[in-house]
Amino acid sequence: MSGGTHMNDSAAAQADKSQVGLKLMALVVRCLNTVSLHDVDNSSSKETIEELGVLLDAELRQQKSVELQCVGGIPFLNGARLKMGEEHLETAVALRRYLEHLQVQEISFGAGLRREHLRGFFLAFQKHRRAPKPQAILQEKLGLVRLRETLSASTVLTPREVLLRYYARLVVLLKHVIGSQTPVRVERFRRVLQRLAEASVGHEALLVGLTRFHRKDVDGGQHGAAVAVLVLLMARRMGMPRAQQLDLALSGLFHDLGRGTSALPPEREFDRSSHELLARRGPLKTALRMLQRPLDPGRLERVVAAHDCLQPAWSGPVQRPVGLAGRMLAVPCAFDLLTFPAPPHPGLPPDTALRLISHRAGTRFDPRVVRLFTAVAGFYPVGTLVRLSGGQLGVVMDVPTDPAQAARPRVRVVQGAGRTKADYVVDLAEPGQRLTIVASLDSTESDLNVPHFLFS
């Protein structure tokens, strides 16, 4: 109970801080607007500066300095991101326009700030904003107002954070592209995938775990991102050059671009042919989104892979040349579709899905690719919720390197026997370790967010 109250308090403090930040941003922008038009000593300028001063005085009573930052158009207060609503976007854009012109990323107001410091700052702003070299404002002595070109706080992220953040970015970008029908800017996706690829060296299991997040409904963004990272790992395991790894991952990312949001509503009566038509129209829509004449070979490759990935499911008696890229996408794609809830069905546990896929190796899937996928994802794929022989619940953490130990991965126990709270890691492959996996469980039943345990 007390924990809950504490949490509420900190959340309230956070919200409060964000409110102050928004107010500060709005005031700074208003002041900059006013002094762009009027003299600093003009009454209206004085009024807004005074208002800003009052706010800063109140804040500086509690802390040493107040830092308003703007990186790439996103405003931060003392390094914490401001939670903005629609109505604040205009202000944020204006702030960005002012600061970028001056090449300033941070304005910091130190304790003991006086009105003349503010006045000095705005005078300097007036002086430099139209100068040929506006960044010279950085050299001005402005008392307790300090301007910085780069953020003072170090923003170097740990690989885990990079993985989480960039995966989230990948999903959001892809969802945006699927939903908004905007042109696909491949370079952005390539950049994000590259960061993921770079940060995941040595953390491959985490990257697999990323794909195990809960999805509320059929989500093209998450499906594409999951297939992209899985196929990236497969390509890496194959020892392909970096550029090809990314190309393959991009193929995975866009393989279902067209079908992303067009699942049949669950209430609709099942009809195999309409599902098939829907599935077959997926690659068509992907192609229509991606291809333009004259055809770009890179994009064509991706679209062909997307088509090949699904095609054998209904290819007729005539054998078609199915590219390896398509065959490589088919396995993670099927795995993801099988394991994720497609309401009303909750999806299969990962190991069951993998079993189903390996039964199809040789007919529906390329057996070599299935083995490769297994080597990357594991017998109990990373992120599978399992019950151990001692009655504990655990999350599979990694893939044993020795195939003979495939069924004995490292497991993070998240619930002890008898539903007690627990948090420790056991390596089932350790000599003398008696615990074994007895069953895989449906993580939706226990309502646990599996990746949380992988990343915590």
């Binding site: 944020a92 950049r191 020892g239 915590s456």
Partner: protein
């Protein structure tokens, strides 16, 4: 010409006349050489001796810096300059003109050049940097991604988290801000301990779900597939297998099978497209076909068409698709590719093989292609193929002007194929080029002469003397007496002596009272001695007894030229006796 560059540590940098003492001096030297090297790219192509020289100097300067300072060259990237050991390098006033612009914009904070850096690697990095400056990086790439993919060994970048550059316009900025907001939400969701529980299992739908997967993913699904099996099945992938997959992937990327697979894809998509999407798909198909054709992949093209035909036979609904794709072979771009390919030795047969597998429907427009093929042999073979497939070649008649005399060889069987081919011969007789008309005349059979008599008679007045001569010979050869009238009329026209003689001789050969009368009249009226002599001989050939008095009068004339008298005498000897 590229100059060979000595590699790596084999070339030790020579210390200049003034030995460098401090790290600061070494840093300035690095900056100086770096600026020179980046500038040199503007003037010299990769591998040019001058460029190689400045690259070499930069590498030497770096090497010296490594030697003096004992540490890596760490270039701190600022918006308007680089900083190395507090020494500003490449400084400019505006970030727009700065050499560091592409690096700064992508959040590169530091460039680390480790000791042991090889010159090739340094050159590759500089070239990448310059391309980024010039915005000539490959499409879909930015500087850092390119750098990463290249996998430099001794060059590292420290890159800060920088949101993607936003295009101008507040809408784009708003979009970016919204995306960032969503990203933040998702980030929070991802790291939550408990899931929201909305994915909770619901009892219904298992069978439907499996059936749906069957449609989309696996076909078909059996219940026993889901039963548990041992771990032995999961042997992992062996190194040999990985190498095999890698090689396969490599081959797939390098070979130009992409067009072929692309074509199959379009064929697959055509089956499920809507009417309004069809044009787009066919546009891609056309481009892919042209791609295959320009790469000379005729066998693959034939195989694809055969596969499509099999599909269309298996499913009636696909026939219109097949026709639509096949018709693309005769669109402008493809026709051009086909036509130019046939000029290469050995390709003609492959092209014909391809055309022979196309459905008849598409071949209806194929006669157009005949006119675009460069060689008469190719045209002939194609025409034969079309005839065999029962394609009417009626188009040849209106466009006959595009063919030449060499085409007459292959046109011969077409002309002789039946009464419907008469129009073709008639068109050839009216061909604008006299050479074609002449060549044709020599190939006409008695039947043709009979059939096209009136056209031939018209040719007697053809503007080209060669044609007139040839038709004259032909008519005489086949004894077309109907020509006499026209020939007589020709005598009224002013003709060259030679031709006039030929006409007279033709009249003599054809014979008949009209010809005889015309010869007599001509003999009487003619003033020219040579012509008159010739005319006398012609009368002799004809053996017209009614000309005897005329001939005798001239033969007996005392002052007539000797040749004329002689000719008259000879003619008289040839004449039939009066009433005989």
């Amino acid at each position: 010409m590229p100059v060979s560059v000595p590699r790596g540590p084999s070339v030790l940098p020579t210390v200049g006349a003034q030995p460098i003492q401090t790290a600061g001096e070494a840093a300035s030297e690095v900056g100086h050489s770096l600026s020179k090297a980046l500038n040199a790219y503007r003037f010299y192509a990769e591998g040019h001796a001058s460029l190689v020289e400045v690259q070499q100097r930069l590498w030497e300067a770096m090497h010296r810096y490594h030697g003096v300072s004992g540490e890596a060259v760490v270039l701190h990237v600022r918006s308007t300059m680089l900083v190395l050991r507090d020494v500003p390098l490449l400084e400019v006033t505006s970030p727009r003109d700065s050499m560091t612009r592409p690096l700064f914009l992508e959040g590169v904070q530091e460039v680390l050049l480790q000791p042991g850096l090889e010159q090739d690697e340094l050159n590759a990095f500089l070239s990448l940097w310059y391309r980024a400056l010039q915005r000539t990086l490959p499409p879909e790439y930015d500087f850092y991604t390119c750098f990463w993919e290249r996998g430099f060994e001794d060059i590292e970048l420290v890159v800060a988290e920088v949101p993607a550059a936003v295009e101008a316009g507040s809408d784009a900025a708003k979009d970016e801000a919204l995306l960032a907001e969503r990203e933040e939400q998702l980030f929070a969701e991802l790291t939550r301990r408990e899931s929201s529980g909305r994915g909770r299992r619901r009892p219904v739908g298992h069978d439907e779900w499996l059936a749906r997967l069957e449609a989309e993913v696996l076909a078909p699904v059996n219940a026993q597939d889901l039963t548990r099996s041992d771990a032995q099945g999961f042997a992992g992938a062996t190194d040999a297998e990985l190498a095999e997959l890698r090689a396969l992937m490599e081959r797939e990327r390098s070979a130009d099978g992409l067009h072929e697979r692309g074509l199959w894809m379009v064929w697959g998509l055509l089956a499920v497209c809507r009417e309004e999407e069809r044009a787009e798909l066919l546009g891609w198909a056309e481009e892919l076909l042209a791609g295959l054709a320009t790469h000379g992949r005729w066998t693959e093209l034939s195989q694809v068409v055969q596969g499509m035909t099999r599909d269309a036979r298996a499913a009636q609904a696909r026939t219109p698709d097949l026709y639509a794709v096949a018709r693309l072979f005769f669109r402008e771009q493809m026709r051009f590719a086909l036509a130019s390919a046939t000029a290469q030795p050995g390709v003609l047969l492959k092209v014909l093989e391809l055309l022979s597998v196309l459905p008849r429907d598409a071949l209806q427009v194929a006669p157009e292609l005949v006119f675009e093929l460069p060689s008469p042999q190719a045209r002939g073979t194609l025409a034969k193929l079309l005839v065999r497939r029962g394609i009417p070649l009626g188009i040849l008649v209106p466009r006959i002007a595009s063919l030449n005399e060499k085409d007459l060889d292959w046109l011969q069987p077409l002309r002789e194929s039946g009464p419907e081919a008469h129009a073709l011969t008639a068109a050839l007789l009216g061909h604008p080029r006299p050479q074609v008309r002449i060549a044709l005349l020599s190939r006409l059979s008695p039947k043709d002469v009979e059939q096209h008599r009136s056209a031939l008679l018209k040719l007697l007045a053809d503007p080209d003397p060669g044609v007139r001569g040839a038709v004259l010979v032909l008519l005489v050869q086949h004894g077309v007496e109907a020509a006499v009238g026209t020939l007589v009329a020709r005598l009224e026209v002013k003709l060259e002596a030679r031709e006039r003689m030929a006409v007279l001789r033709a009249l003599a050969d054809l014979g008949g009272p009209v010809a005889a009368a015309a010869l007599r009249t001509t003999f009487e009226r003619e003033q020219d001695i040579d012509m008159k002599t010739h005319c006398a001989r012609c009368i002799g050939v004809l053996g017209d007894p009614r000309a005897r008095p005329l001939l005798e009068a001239v033969a007996g004339k005392l002052f007539a030229p000797r040749a004329l008298r002689q000719a008259c005498k000879e003619a008289l000897a040839q004449l039939a006796p009066v009433g005989g």
